[in-house]
Symmetry: C2
Subunit: 205 residues, 2 copies
Amino acid sequence: MKDATARLTPLGVMVLALLREGEMHPYEMIRLMRHRHDDRIVSVTNGTVYHTVARLERQGLIAEVGIDRDGNRPERTTYALADAGGAAVDEWVRRELPVLDHPVEFRVALAEAHNLERDEVLALLRTRLAALAEARDYHRSGRAKALAARTPEQYLIEVDRQGALLAADHDWLAAFLVRLSSPDFMWGTHEVDDRYLAQREAARR
Amino acid sequence: MKDATARLTPLGVMVLALLREGEMHPYEMIRLMRHRHDDRIVSVTNGTVYHTVARLERQGLIAEVGIDRDGNRPERTTYALADAGGAAVDEWVRRELPVLDHPVEFRVALAEAHNLERDEVLALLRTRLAALAEARDYHRSGRAKALAARTPEQYLIEVDRQGALLAADHDWLAAFLVRLSSPDFMWGTHEVDDRYLAQREAARR
DNA sequence: TCGTGTATAGTCCAAATGGACTAATCGAGA
DNA sequence: TCTCGATTAGTCCATTTGGACTATACACGA
């Protein structure tokens, strides 16, 4: 077994993150993710979720805490987050936040970044911002060089779009870093509004 | 076997597109794609490419045209595009160009769109533009509603970024459609500069 | 000239993915 | 009250994927 945290898939991280909110059985995870539209980011299918949960258990990141049975329905195996699991998510987020070429992983990392200290997130994202600026410039100069070499524009369409998206990503991050630097921006679970937590709890049923 | 063109993976489409330029053996495809940085878009590994080629042959989209041997090196099996293969790419591109939630597929479709008529591409992309505008507005109003419901900003970071990227994608496409509508924008292989083709040929060695 | 690394061409396999399938229960309308 | 469909909870399997491995040939420096 390589590293525990290296083998984590995006879906695995989302499962671990869900278990931070409490014990759960796989089917409930699926419902919750769909309800929160987490399936915009990664595909949430039965096969993948059940398989992922089994893998996380083999790796010792989560643990079975009981087999519930309601009426005559199929058994529901409930899982809880293990200590190693929480640590693994945080490590994974630290690793993925600055990385440019894992679009899906980054979205998950960004969504789960609130478990890290604000200052650490700021540092990681500043690294990313620098990488984005470099990538954007590299893209631009590459396009200019290709045009200078008389490459027909019709072959550069996708590259052109990618450059535009890169620039937008950069600009969004720069703006977000300004917002996050301000103490007006809420950060950390202890500051979270109780009313909001109650709402989420209600939505789980 | 479902539809021939429905089961095409992005890599499969890229392989078919490569074979439009001439016969090739899988290893050469890998070299070419890496050289052209097509592996920015999809991961190009040995396992996947050889498997994809085998699948395309089973589906009758490409055909073996000979087993070459150079010195005492391993045999090189060369493939050529079948008629059904060219048609399948075009059909696939038509299907994927307007679709929003397949980011990878869209990049490939955009890169291969130059084989379709300019007017058809314009029509398909105008459909996409409308969908992008709608998705962007939906995103915005969703964010506004969440804020009104006092959702802490820290939970909306990823959504916020996705909205920004969506807006950028929309704006880029709007601008591109203007460019593509103009007759100044080169389109279609018959207009392609010979010098450029010679260059590409040279790069293949 | 003798290794040592890298390019060529491909095979093979463990793991991940997506989707079809099962099977029971509950709700809502005819 | 009966039935049809949706919901709950999960299993199972065929494809796909990524990467490790093989084996030869050539280049190049020590």
